[in-house]
């Protein structure tokens, strides 16, 4: 179970993770904001659809790919939270169909 030992900070922001609002510290990594709120699944594996989660937390494994503000393939461990950011787990597998035209 993940836990924060962070010294008290006032600079808080609100983001949503899969639609649920959560509080985070400005500048915190998206991954830690997710994980501290119990959302450790970041993406589905491309073929099997199995749950995946961050492995290296330093940008070299690409397991923590999430969608941020609608943009897929964002590394949750490298991106920092900002006020109002919308994070969703990345559901793209090799059978996913597009639902909008991106217009």
């Amino acid at each position: 179970m993940f836990q924060s030992l962070r010294k008290p900070e006032r600079d808080r922001v609100t983001i949503t993770v899969n639609g649920h609002p959560i509080e985070a510290i400005a500048g915190q990594s998206v991954w830690s904001a997710m994980a501290l709120n119990g959302q450790t699944i970041t993406r589905r594996a491309a073929l099997s659809g199995e749950d995946r989660s961050a492995y290296c937390a330093m940008g070299v494994c690409f397991e923590c790919l999430v969608e941020i503000d609608g943009l897929p393939n964002q590394q949750a461990c490298l991106r920092r939270v900002t006020e109002g950011m919308a994070v969703t787990t990345q559901e793209i597998t090799e059978t996913t169909e597009a639902t909008n035209a991106g217009l």
Binding site: P72, T93, T96, E97, T99, L103
Partner: protein, 371 residues
């Protein structure tokens, strides 16, 4: 090592030729300086395209297209071929006029595989296309395959019939002695009655060893491929008058081509990319398909391709030596032709004839021209 036929080059033309020869009982050696499908045959865009072929190529390409439909079954290995159709998009009336002229020419020759589609059908086939596009042309039999898998499928099938593939062996010299070709590789000597030159971007050097001069050049067409995206397009897509070409594979990745060329340094064996041109390709792609703006590019590359001045291949016998044949210079659209070229070359080697008119592909077609 001895064989009836020595094939130089382990690309799709070489492996398909080996397969068709071995299948008919000839003993075959394929000499490959790197590994099978290392260059254009393994790293091309995978388009299996009959649409828009030069008139001289249509008969061959059409026969090849029919072979692709059942090729995986025939070879016993998946080529990754998927028949998805190919649509070339028209952006305006000028494009449509170009298509109508082409259609008239095709009909006059008796070909009916290309069909013009209107704006409504375009939207139906490509729901995510920019709504400003006015129509296009479709060829239903077209699609894509996985280049390395396809070439390797030919290789495995050839080996099953007894063909020997020698990788990592470069041809250093080749000479005709009596009734044999003596070939010196980097570590082994080979002897064969017949040689077939399928050496792709290096084929002019092999042709020279055989005794034929040929105005072959080479270039490095650039490609890029994305991480998986939700499926949004089934057909392979091109455009009538713009550098647009892409396809979404069954695994969700999208391969973007378009013909922009990087820099090919054959002496150094390396290619460089022209990022400004790739940025153009990115802009064009996103313009036609706004959904692509958010696509994540994962790899970019360029392979060596051999080009003839008229963008038509050389297919046929050598003119300055007996028992030598050429199949190269496909000018960046040879992958689709692989299956039929293999058969044509086997026919030439075994019978001296082909059922297809090969006049436009003679190696000496430039001999009397001033280039």
């Amino acid at each position: 090592m001895k064989a009836d036929v020595l094939i130089i080059g382990g690309g799709i033309q070489g492996c398909a030729t080996a397969y068709h020869l071995a299948r008919q009982g000839a003993s075959v050696i394929v000499l490959e300086k790197d590994y099978v499908a290392r260059h254009a045959s393994g790293v091309n865009a995978g388009g299996v395209r009959l649409l828009g072929r030069d008139m001289a190529e249509v008969a061959l390409s059409k026969a090849s297209m029919e072979m692709w439909q059942t090729l995986s079954d025939e070879l016993g290995h998946d080529t990754g071929f998927r028949r998805q159709g190919l649509v070339n998009i028209a952006v305006d009336e000028t494009d449509l006029n170009t298509l109508r002229a082409r259609e008239a020419k095709m009909r006059a020759t008796g070909y009916t595989h290309e069909r013009i589609i209107d704006r409504g059908e375009l939207r139906e086939r490509l729901p995510h296309v920019n709504p400003n596009c006015v129509g296009g042309v479709i060829s239903e039999l077209d699609g894509y395959a996985i280049p390395y898998q396809s070439t390797n499928a030919f290789r495995l099938a050839a080996e099953r019939h007894g063909a020997r593939i020698v990788e990592g062996e470069e041809l250093l010299s080749l000479r005709r002695v009596g009734c044999s070709w003596l070939a010196q590789g980097s570590s082994t000597r080979f002897e064969a009655d017949t040689v077939v030159n399928c050496a792709g971007a290096w084929a002019d050097r092999i042709a020279l060893m055989i005794g034929d001069n040929v105005p072959l050049s080479h270039a490095a067409p650039m490609l890029m491929i994305t991480a998986r995206m939700p499926h949004f397009v089934k057909p392979v897509v091109g455009a009538v008058s713009r550098q647009l070409s892409f396809k979404q594979f069954q695994n969700g990745t999208v391969l973007i081509g378009g013909g922009a060329k990087g820099f090919a340094d054959r002496a150094a064996g390396s290619t460089r990319l022209d990022y400004a041109k790739l940025a153009d390709a990115a802009r064009t792609t996103a313009e036609f398909f706004p959904i692509m703006r958010r696509a994540a590019i994962n790899r970019m590359w360029a392979g060596f391709e051999a080009y003839m001045p008229d963008n038509l291949p050389v297919i046929g016998p050598a003119v300055n030596a007996p028992r030598a044949f050429h199949a190269f210079g496909f000018s960046a659209h040879g992958f689709q032709m692989g299956p039929v070229v293999g058969q044509v070359m086997a026919d030439l080697v075994l019978t001296g004839r082909s059922q297809f008119p090969l006049g436009p592909f003679r190696i000496d077609r430039y001999d009397r021209k001033v280039l």
